[in-house]
């Protein structure tokens, strides 16, 4: 199992779920991260709590492009939870550094990284790739459309990748979270009934993995919320403040 963004709350919950459900199926879990110290705590935790070996690979997506650090990394499950919310439009629209970072982390620099592994999966002719997009990528809204547009790009990428890899025996899952109670949204006022915990998310993603779903919302209600939002005609939508 390879995990991008290993210290994210969803990654940690998903790793725990996989081990709880399948035991020490993976001799080693590869934790890809930009933060070594925080990931070392996680690696130690996995060892002590689950007797699970892991390897930390430090890779900063904002600047690293030497993929040779992944030379010895092989698995049939890739979980990608790399994401960066950045500033909202009000604060970040004219901040070029922030805009570039949002686009780079969520899309531009992420795609080549995943493609590096796609090659591996293609040769294996099996396995599962799980990518986390966002409801923000389903329709551009004034409050965070830079992030949304990058996630939209990623969403379409995963669609295409699923189609491409289907013929090679590899399954691709698109995860579309709504509001999540995670580090990313710390301090944001989120409506409780619509907000999922990392644990709930991990359960939904694990089911999708087990039953080979293509797209899953976290949680299910977001499928209907987005259905309604997408039905609003553009002439009306452009006038509302979301």
């Amino acid at each position: 199992m390879i995990v991008f963004g290993a210290t994210s709350d969803i990654s940690q919950a998903f790793i725990a779920k996989v081990i709880e459900k399948e035991g020490n199926k993976y001799p080693k879990i590869y934790l890809v991260t930009s933060r070594r110290d925080a990931t070392e705590r996680l690696a130690k935790h996995l060892e002590v709590k689950y007797n699970q070996a892991s390897e930390i690979i430090v890779f900063d997506i904002t600047k690293d492009s030497d993929y040779s650090v992944f030379d010895s990394v092989h698995s049939d499950l890739l979980f990608c939870a790399i994401g960066f919310l950045g500033k909202n439009s009000q604060e970040g629209l004219y901040d070029a550094v922030n805009t570039e970072a949002v686009i780079a982390i969520n899309y531009a620099r992420l795609i080549p990284l995943i493609n590096y592994f796609v090659q591996q999966f293609e040769q294996q002719k099996s396995g599962t790739i799980i990518g986390l997009s966002s409801v923000a990528g389903l329709r551009g809204r004034q409050s965070n459309f830079i992030y949304g547009s990058a996630k939209a790009g990623f969403l379409v990428y995963l669609d295409g990748l699923r189609n491409y890899l289907y013929h090679k025996g590899v399954h691709v899952i698109t995860v579309i979270p709504g509001f999540m109670d995670t580090k990313m949204t710390e301090g944001l006022p989120l409506p409780k009934p619509l907000t999922a915990s990392p644990k709930q998310a991990a359960n939904i993603i694990y089911n999708a993995y087990r039953f080979k779903y293509n797209k899953v919302y976290i949680s299910g209600i977001w499928r209907y919320i987005m259905m309604i939002i997408n039905l609003i005609p553009e002439t009306v939508f452009k006038k509302i403040k979301l």
Binding site: K44, H45, P189
Partner: protein, 441 residues
């Protein structure tokens, strides 16, 4: 990222009081440092299973639930280290199969390690083996300056002893290291004895004080001859030889059990004197023999209520308080009989009344609840008459030089609570601390 206000309603296990506050969780120590710096006042909170208004703060609460990593488990020497937000349940899940148990555990395993230190929790083995912190080798704590201090009885010992039972008023505990107890099996050999009154139950406690674990359930609505009618449960960790063959094959593994849940707040009329009386009657007479001895698993012995999710809902949406006091042993019988009489007169019966023998903590542990004496813990549904009853009970406890356990307290008087003394940090503060400080005695 932005730290917008995100007010939400928070209450601890007793659902009283409910406060509106900003609660934030993080696994990142640097983030925590920032949160502490930006807050005027703040308090740490674990899993919210203490009962009253400790670990609540109207400005900011730091939830330790994301400090949930295990750090080390030395299986040779039985030493365990983890972050402060790890639940005792998570620790047990890992240590029991390896032949270890918690040295001390309260009646629920759904509390965090940090909370166990902050309240210096105790359990059925207090009279024989002391409090949780007697087994804590060291912990690390972030103090008001954002510095992380490692504390043990020999290093930063003043901060160590102020923090033990200090109700979170010294800082935010990050990690802790403690010793475990070796066990042969995950089972307990228990004896259950019926006592027909207070006289008999006190004799039992005396007779059986060499047993590691002991606790008594007491029917607090009895009067006269049968005042203090109770059931004593005593136990020892079972050896492999004591187990029936079926269990002896896998002595350290328990089957997953069904969990029940209380799906919603019960309407508050459901618990009344009549239903509590009926419950107490059946509870006492369900065991016909005067004494039984059998083997039970550790979950059933230590954590019967954890098997029912949200059992606090039976008290209705207004919640309840747990009133736990202790009085010196020499006043034991007289004091208890006074308290029981007062409760019976008030007709506000509690059906989870627990009587226990305690031994005093060592002197350095100056914030700890136990003294040499007897403690009684009672649940009372919140209602209009309750404050008056609590006042009466407080006065009795005070008369006998007793004290109240701060992890349960929500409305007791200052003189029973101010044995807990920590230096003011100007940063860490709780609703409870404010209430106690604000009250003029």
């Amino acid at each position: 990222m932005m730290t917008k206000m995100n007010k939400q309603k928070i209450a601890n296990w007793g659902k009283f009081p409910v406060i509106e506050t900003d609660m934030i969780a993080s696994s990142d120590f640097d983030q925590l440092r920032k949160i502490i710096a930006e807050s005027h006042t703040i308090i740490a909170r674990g899993n919210g299973h203490s009962y009253g208004d400790n670990s609540l703060n109207k400005e900011k609460i730091f939830s330790t639930l994301k400090l949930n990593k295990f750090i080390s488990f030395d299986k040779q020497n039985g030493i365990f280290e983890c972050e402060s937000g790890v639940l005792l349940a998570d620790v047990l899940a890992v240590i029991v199969p390896e032949g270890f148990f918690l040295p001390v555990t309260p009646g629920t395993k759904l509390i965090t390690v940090g909370g166990a230190i902050g309240s210096n929790v105790h359990g059925k083995n207090n009279h024989s083996e002391g409090c949780f912190c007697d087994y804590v080798l060291s912990f690390s704590i972030m103090v008001e300056t954002g510095d992380i201090k490692t504390c043990s009885p020999s290093e930063n010992s003043e901060l160590f002893w102020n923090t033990v039972g200090g109700m979170g008023l010294t800082g935010i505990i990050l990690t802790a290291k403690f010793t475990l107890k070796r066990i042969e099996t995950a089972y307990i050999r228990q004896r259950v004895l019926k006592a027909k009154n207070l006289e008999e139950i006190f004799n039992y406690f005396e007779t059986f004080k060499n047993w590691t674990y002991s606790v008594a359930w007491i029917d607090c609505l009895q009067r006269g001859e049968t005042i203090g009618r109770s059931i004593l449960t005593i136990g020892e960790h079972a050896t492999q030889a004591e187990l029936p063959v079926k269990k002896a094959n896998q002595p350290l593994h328990l089957k997953n059990k069904l969990k029940f849940a209380v799906p919603f707040d019960f309407p508050s009329f459901i618990l009344n004197t009549f239903t509590v009386k009926a419950f107490n009657f059946f509870y006492y007479f369900k065991q016909i023999k005067r004494e039984i001895e059998n083997i039970t698993d550790y979950d059933a012995f230590f954590y019967p209520l954890d098997a029912i999710n949200n059992w606090n809902r039976i008290y209705g949406k207004n919640g309840f308080i747990q009133y736990q006091f202790i009085i010196p042993a020499n006043f034991g019988k007289e004091g208890m009989s006074n308290v029981l009489q007062t409760i019976a007169d008030s007709r506000q019966g509690s059906f989870l009344a627990v009587l226990k023998l305690y031994k005093a903590s060592k002197e350095e542990a100056h914030n700890s609840f136990p003294i040499d004496g007897y403690s009684l813990a009672l649940d009372f549904k919140i209602n209009k008459q309750l404050p008056a009853l609590i006042k009466k009970l407080d006065n009795i406890v005070e008369r006998y030089n007793g004290r109240i356990y701060l992890a349960k307290d929500a409305m007791s008087k200052k003189s029973l609570l101010d044995y807990v003394k920590t230096p003011e940090t100007g940063k860490f503060n709780s609703v409870q601390h404010e209430r106690i400080n604000g009250e003029t005695n």
